[in-house]
């Protein structure tokens, strides 16, 4: 059984009289421990897909299953638990909280899981260290460069040690060196910790680490490529 499974998923947005069809009958299976790269032109529905996979949004029609359970059948508290404990999300626009330091941003998911303060701080520092920002823990997002913010977002996604990591262009703002280090981190997480990783990218180098590349066009899978 696939860890994540999408069957004929559509997502439509109603804008006044026009209907925007972001996803049009998309099928996708993702196995435990896989690294999947999702590629495709702008507006092809990559972020929309990621939101559905991350239990942040629901399809207009079709099925989205996590371990065989239809996400639409789950109650809000159950979805909250999934978002908080099983999935780490790196947003395309980082979505850091401006009033909080890098460390507090990384601690935030742990606060909602009621982790003790000390443990939280240690974990957050370790994660920042891991993305190469050990010395930026007390900086606010607006005191960080774009690439640094992106790395804080990656660290936050790892906060509750989730089994699935959804990363929407995690290297989009990074130079090749820090980009590679993030990719190496993701690779390590997959190889050593068995994490399932789905990343959206335009970057062929990023696609290199993937086991499989899924190409989207106009809200559907155009081509899937097994990687070797």
């Amino acid at each position: 059984m696939s860890l994540l499974e999408l069957r004929d998923v559509t997502k439509e947005y109603q804008l006044g009289k026009t209907t925007v069809r972001a996803l049009r009958g998309l099928d996708l299976d993702i196995a435990q421990g896989e690294i999947v790269a999702i590629m495709g032109p702008s507006g092809s529905g990559k972020s929309t897909l990621m939101h559905i996979l991350g239990a942040l949004d629901v399809p207009t029609s079709g099925l989205a299953k996590l371990e065989g359970t239809d996400l639409a059948s789950l109650s809000e508290p159950q979805l909250v638990t999934i978002r908080g404990q099983r999935i780490g999300f790196v947003f395309q626009t980082f979505n850091l909280i401006q009033t909080l330091s890098a460390q507090m941003n990384v601690e935030l998911p742990m606060i909602f899981q009621r982790l003790p303060r000390k443990q939280r701080a240690q974990l957050a520092c370790a994660l920042l260290e891991r993305v190469g920002l050990g010395d930026r823990a007390h900086h606010k997002p607006n005191e960080l460069s774009g690439g640094e913010r992106q790395r804080v977002a990656v660290a936050r996604a790892l906060a509750n040690d989730p089994e699935i990591i959804l990363a929407d262009e995690p290297t989009g703002n990074l130079d090749s060196e820090s980009g590679s280090s993030i990719l190496n981190l993701l690779k390590t997480l997959s190889r050593d910790d068995g994490k399932t990783i789905i990343l959206v990218t335009h970057d062929p180098e990023a696609a290199e680490i993937a086991d499989r590349i899924v190409r989207l066009k106009d809200g559907a899978v155009r081509k899937e490529v097994e990687h070797v």
């Binding site: 942040l56 949004d57 850091l96 909280i97 909602f112 303060r117």
Partner: protein
């Protein structure tokens, strides 16, 4: 977790300093008014009660014409004859004394030329017991050297107010005539220092008249001169030790009413109840006004919170995306608005107390009235808790709106 939520809320308040402070100002103006009014009100009540209990003590009550206090006002002509000896014989009564007020035809001592002044003057009959047993009620009557107070056996003697003594050309030892009868002057009251002091030291005895113009004679003499009392100002009764004042007062009232006297009794409890009722009426009125300003403050908090929810829509989306429950989001916003209320409450309490101390200092300087300021720990604690609650309640609706936001919608908000 609560501590973290406080921290998150505090961060966001601190982040928008100006707006937060403006909101807080809206709250503390109301709280200042409430605290000042309550502490002055309680202080006034305490001051009045203290003074009443000073004058009365716990063992004394007064008998007064029906309707003197309370609605209807005083019937100046209410008739009642009180026999003090009968009063003293009622169970539980230890001592009784009365003040009676008449206007008498008075003739002064003759001067060197043999002329003497004549006219109508206020003649007040005082029981000698009033001076010996009820001195706190009568206030200090300080006599000039050589003078003495009435004794129980005194009949035709008088004590003169300072001004009236001069006018009647009388000093200790000289004689004046009241209603044609001779009265020996046994004392002259020392002139008051100034009006305010005179009013204060006079206590309740002078009934608005200064002691300067009054002629005091023993109470019983007025019976000879004018017959039974129909204009007794007030009768003071002291109960025996161990007797309940209110019960004794009820007994006396029933007894005298049965005997046809149109009187009522007033105990310390009655007065303090009356003061209490009056004060709580005034307080309720003022609290209503202060309540309006609190309401305005609360609306300010609500407005700020709605703006805050709107501005932080994306932040709310992020918190939810990383695992915040609706209740977490709700709580964070509620704490935020509660904290604005609390800070407003703290500032308001300090300003309110300062204001009432200032007012009390001003009153005592300008008018010579000392009003205690009541600043109990309970008042402060209730105010702080109340202002937190005020903020939190004002934040309920915005917080609820924040908690109901859908994750993706909130995340997309720019």
């Amino acid at each position: 977790m609560f501590r973290d939520f406080f921290l998150l809320a505090a961060r966001s308040i601190a982040h928008r300093k100006v707006r937060s402070w403006l909101t807080i100002i809206g709250v503390f103006i109301g709280i200042t008014a409430v605290v000042a009014l309550i502490s002055i009100g309680l202080g006034l009540e305490k001051t009045i009660n203290d003074q009443v209990s000073d004058v009365f003590g716990v063992d004394t009550f007064i008998i007064s014409p029906e309707g003197t206090f309370g609605p209807g006002g005083a019937h100046a002509d209410a008739t009642f004859a009180i026999d003090l000896d009968h009063l003293r014989s009622i169970d539980g009564i230890q001592e009784a004394a009365a003040i009676r007020d008449e206007t008498g035809f008075v003739q002064g001592s003759p001067d060197e030329a043999g002329d003497s002044i004549k006219g109508l003057l206020s003649v007040v009959g005082l029981s000698p017991e009033l001076l010996t047993d009820f001195s706190s009620f009568i206030g200090d009557i300080e006599l000039e050297p050589g003078g003495r107070n009435f004794t129980a056996t005194d009949r035709n003697v008088a004590i003169l107010g300072n001004a009236v003594a001069t006018r009647l050309n009388a000093t200790v030892g000289s004689t004046i005539e009241i209603e044609g009868q001779p009265f020996e002057i046994v004392g002259v009251v020392v002139p008051g220092e100034d009006d305010a002091a005179g009013r204060q030291s006079g206590g309740m005895m002078s009934y608005g008249r200064t002691t300067e113009d009054t002629i005091y004679v023993p109470y019983d003499v007025l019976l000879d001169l004018y017959g039974p009392a129909d204009s007794v100002l007030v009768t003071l009764v002291r109960v025996a030790e161990g007797t309940d004042v209110d019960e004794a007062a009820d007994r006396v009232e029933t007894d005298l009413n049965e005997r046809g006297a149109d009187i009522m009794t007033i105990t310390y409890t009655d007065i303090s109840d009356m003061v209490g009722t009056m004060m709580s009426t005034i307080s309720a009125f003022l609290a209503g006004i202060a309540g309006i300003s609190l309401l305005v403050g609360a609306v300010g908090v609500m407005n700020t919170m709605f703006t805050s929810v709107l501005e932080r829509t994306k932040e709310i989306g992020v918190m939810k995306a990383v695992g915040a429950k609706n209740s977490h989001v709700w709580l964070i916003f509620l704490i935020e608005s509660g904290m604005m209320g609390l800070v407003g409450g703290a500032v308001g309490t300090i300003l309110g107390l300062a204001l009432s101390w200032g007012a009390s200092a001003l009153l005592s300087r300008v008018f010579g009235i000392d009003i205690a300021v009541v600043a109990s720990a309970a008042l402060i604690a209730i105010t702080l808790a109340g202002s937190f609650a005020l903020g939190a309640i004002a934040g309920l609706w915005p917080a609820r709106r924040a908690s109901k936001l859908l994750v993706v919608d909130a995340l997309r908000y720019e």
